[in-house]
């Protein structure tokens, strides 16, 4: 083909076409691999084990940390106290202690409650002595602070000093007030940041070994010869992002299924009723959309760093070693974002918004707390620029540092031969004329 003819045809793929060729191959290859199946199932085991451990732990802690208050009064006062507590419990629920008569104190006027507690006998949070008019609570400062009010109320009820019938209070429920809404949205922001962080770290790992494996398979040079390296990087990133969305969809569907089947158990184990999670400032639909966008950005940012590391490393083990600082950095930027939830506009919060790796997390929190939308448009554009810069930088580094296995790669091994060649060069130049 002549030079003119070569100029007449579209002789290469566009950047997007090139990235698409790579993304399509990687997406299909990863999705239909056995490793991905294990990857999908993997996180479900810790959740299952965590749930079981949580349930067991909760039972154990309930058994280990008693909320029983021992009573060491006269037999008549003891009975009155227990009856009063029983009357109050339906009204005050957890605020009313469980009262138990101490066997050792029964009929023993010399019972020393302090010595009994010091001897670590029984399993009582505190001991009530004295009488109904002057109850005395013996226990640690924390227990005394916690239970003195309820015990006074129980004693007053037992002595007939409080009404025997409580008037029914009328109620009018409001969803939130300004203070509680702010506080509640902080919880939403924290939850969203945590989910974003966990997903990014969990799924980002897939990118890590991708290029290292391709180097192992010796494919990378074929790709580098055919396509611009930044298109290869971009294609791989988006393939992994697509695979991540598949993973999230699967986990989300399973989570939804578990929730539908065992909502009560989940609320009990996690001690959080997710139905009560307060609505974010931008509203749920936009919040979810922003969540997807910020996850994508966080993934692409972290992925581009991991991809560069993977490209530089020669084995998966080397990748893991080299990626440790990046993972640590990611944890640090997460903490930076998490520590500044609600501190909108402070220098540290602004830093976490501007620094590309922490920006998605910080902006996720803002979406929960602030109604302003234009900041999200700016942040997403900025994060996009950072992704492109990282991909360009990574691909440049790859071309500069990695593709040198020819002469340089063997140079150290064949130092002797190169020296010999240099010696011969002068002789050779005498024979050879300038190259044509």
């Amino acid at each position: 083909m002549t030079n003119q003819a070569s100029a007449d045809v579209k002789a290469r793929l566009s950047f997007l076409e090139a990235a698409w060729v790579i993304a399509r191959r990687d997406f299909v290859a990863v999705l239909f691999s056995r490793a991905f199946l294990f990857f999908l199932v993997g996180p479900l085991f810790p959740v299952l084990v965590g749930g079981l451990a949580g349930a067991i732990g909760k039972t154990n802690s309930q058994q280990a940390v008693s909320v029983e208050i021992g009573i060491a009064m006269t037999a008549q006062d003891n009975a009155a106290m227990i009856a009063a507590a029983t009357t109050l419990r339906p009204k005050l629920r957890g605020a009313t202690p469980m009262l138990t008569e101490i066997d050792e104190a029964r009929g023993n006027p010399d019972f020393d409650a302090r010595a009994f507690m010091d001897a670590r006998r029984g399993n009582y949070a505190a001991i009530v002595t004295g009488n109904l008019d002057a109850p005395k609570l013996v226990g640690t400062q924390r227990q005394v602070d916690r239970w003195s009010g309820p015990i006074e109320l129980v004693a007053a009820t037992a002595a007939g000093a409080s009404p025997s019938r409580f008037p029914e209070a009328q109620s009018e429920v409001v969803t939130a007030n300004a203070a509680s809404e702010r506080y509640s949205r902080v919880r939403t922001a924290q939850a969203a940041q945590m989910v974003l962080f966990l997903l990014t770290i969990l799924l980002g790992g897939m990118v890590l070994s991708n290029l290292a494996e391709e180097k192992g398979n010796k494919i990378i040079e074929i790709l580098a010869a055919a396509l611009p390296m930044d298109a290869v990087f971009m294609g791989k990133l988006f393939a992994m992002l697509g695979v991540s969305f598949v993973g999230i969809t699967v986990w989300g569907s399973l989570g939804w299924g578990f929730w539908a089947i065992a909502e009560d158990a989940i609320v009990t184990v996690t001690q959080t009723n997710y139905r009560d999670l307060p609505g974010p400032a931008v509203g749920w639909p936009l919040f979810v959309a922003l969540g997807i966008t910020y996850f994508s950005m966080a993934y692409l940012l972290l992925g581009s760093l991991f991809l560069t590391i993977g490209a530089m490393a020669s084995s998966v083990r080397e990748v893991q070693t080299m990626s440790m600082p990046v993972t640590m950095l990611q944890i640090m930027v997460f903490f930076l974002s998490a520590a500044n939830i609600g501190a909108t506009g402070t220098p540290l919060e602004l830093t976490s918004v501007v620094f590309p790796l922490s920006s998605p997390f910080a902006m996720m929190a803002r979406a929960a707390l602030e109604e302003t939308l234009w900041t999200h448009a700016v942040a997403i554009a900025w994060q996009g620029v950072a992704v492109i810069a990282l991909v360009k930088g990574g691909s440049m580094l790859f071309r500069k540092r990695v593709m040198k296995s020819g002469g340089a790669g063997r140079e150290k091994k064949s130092l002797f031969s190169r020296r010999a060649a240099r010696v011969d060069r002068s002789a050779a130049e005498a024979v050879a004329e300038p190259a044509e």
Binding site: M1, A11, N217, G407, S414, S417, A420, A421, A428
Partner: protein
């Protein structure tokens, strides 16, 4: 003495008297000027110049570590030179001509879980083919090379030679106008080497430019119209194989019945005598004046043979003994 040898000797005398190369009017598929590439402060390639005409089979000949792969990578745009320019079909951005180029790297690589036909189609897709077209052509190519039965086998299930063939077919599936092969004969047995040689010749007959690197001289000698000899990152010679061989004078072996006489004065000063045999380089004046002197001096010529220098001799003379020794060692170990 064979008539052919005499004719050649005469031609050589003519060659030496005129410019080394005939002007080649073919457009250049590859043109490189002063390519330099350093890694970690060491020059892997140090001022390489190359001209590869369209349709030629061109060899880059040198020992391991000489800079062949780095040179090819620069020509393809995989890495950029620190200095110098390279043009492929007149374009100094080789990636822009990706669809016209096929490349087989030295380190063969395919996705182990991919089926053979899919691997070929994927390599075609990298160069602009649709997957459907790539699969269709892939099947045709596999059939043509007696590998149709392996089309749906995973790469990991193929033998090394079959996998190499699949990769080569993937290099050619988009019908490139320039094929760059880095050590293509490495790892192939004699039968597959022969097949590859035939494939390269067939490509050239179709007008495809083929450039390949090798450290095996006889591949270059058999196939190439032009070679670049590379050693220590430099190219001390780039041109036709014929011209390279002509750099070294032909070697004459003369057997005479007479042992002495005035005719011995006509022999070159470097002539070496072993009994009735004389060995010497063919004088630049050619064979005819020598013959005339021998006949007139009644040397009694019993036999006379003139042997052209091979590419190996040319390589030794151009790149040096050490480079040639390494080249031989590399060839034996590959």
């Amino acid at each position: 003495m064979a008539v052919g040898d005499l004719e050649h000797a005469s031609k050589r005398a003519e060659t030496l008297a005129r410019p080394e190369t005939e002007p080649d009017n073919r457009p250049l598929a590859i043109e490189a000027r002063g390519l330099v590439k350093s890694f970690d402060g060491t020059r892997a390639v140090d001022g390489v110049d190359l001209n590869v005409p369209e349709g030629a089979i061109y060899g880059v000949l040198g020992p391991n570590g000489a800079g062949k792969t780095t040179t090819l990578r620069m020509l393809l745009g995989i890495i950029d030179p620190d200095e110098g320019v390279r043009r492929v079909f007149g374009n100094d951005r080789p990636h822009d001509l990706s669809r016209l180029i096929g490349y087989l790297p030295e380190e063969r690589g395919l996705y182990p879980a991919m089926k053979a036909v899919e691997a070929i189609a994927f390599m075609g897709a990298l160069r602009g083919l649709t997957l459907a077209e790539g699969r269709k052509r892939g099947l045709e190519l596999l059939e043509r090379h007696d590998l149709g039965y392996a089309a749906d086998r995973q790469i990991r299930q193929l033998s090394k030679g079959m996998a190499q063939t699949v990769q080569l077919l993937g290099t050619l599936v988009h019908q490139p106008r320039l094929v760059v092969l880095d050590e293509p004969f490495s790892g192939l047995d004699a039968i597959n080497q022969g097949k590859l040689e035939r494939m390269i010749r067939a490509l050239s007959e179709e007008g495809v430019t083929v450039i390949f690197s090798t450290h095996v001289i006889h591949h270059a000698e058999r196939l190439c119209e032009g070679v670049a000899i590379i050693a220590g990152g430099r190219v001390p010679y780039a041109g036709s194989v014929e011209t390279a061989r002509d750099r070294i004078p032909a070697q004459v072996r003369l057997e005479t019945s007479a042992r002495d006489g005035g005719w011995t004065a006509a022999l070159p000063q470097d002539a070496r005598r072993e009994g009735n045999f004389f060995y010497f380089s063919l004088p630049e004046t050619g064979v005819e004046p020598l013959l005339k002197s021998l006949i007139e001096g009644e040397a009694g010529i019993l036999s006379l043979s003139i042997e052209r220098a091979g590419l190996h001799d040319a390589f030794v003379a151009i790149a040096g003994e050490a480079a040639a020794r390494q080249l031989e060692a590399d060839a034996q170990s590959s």
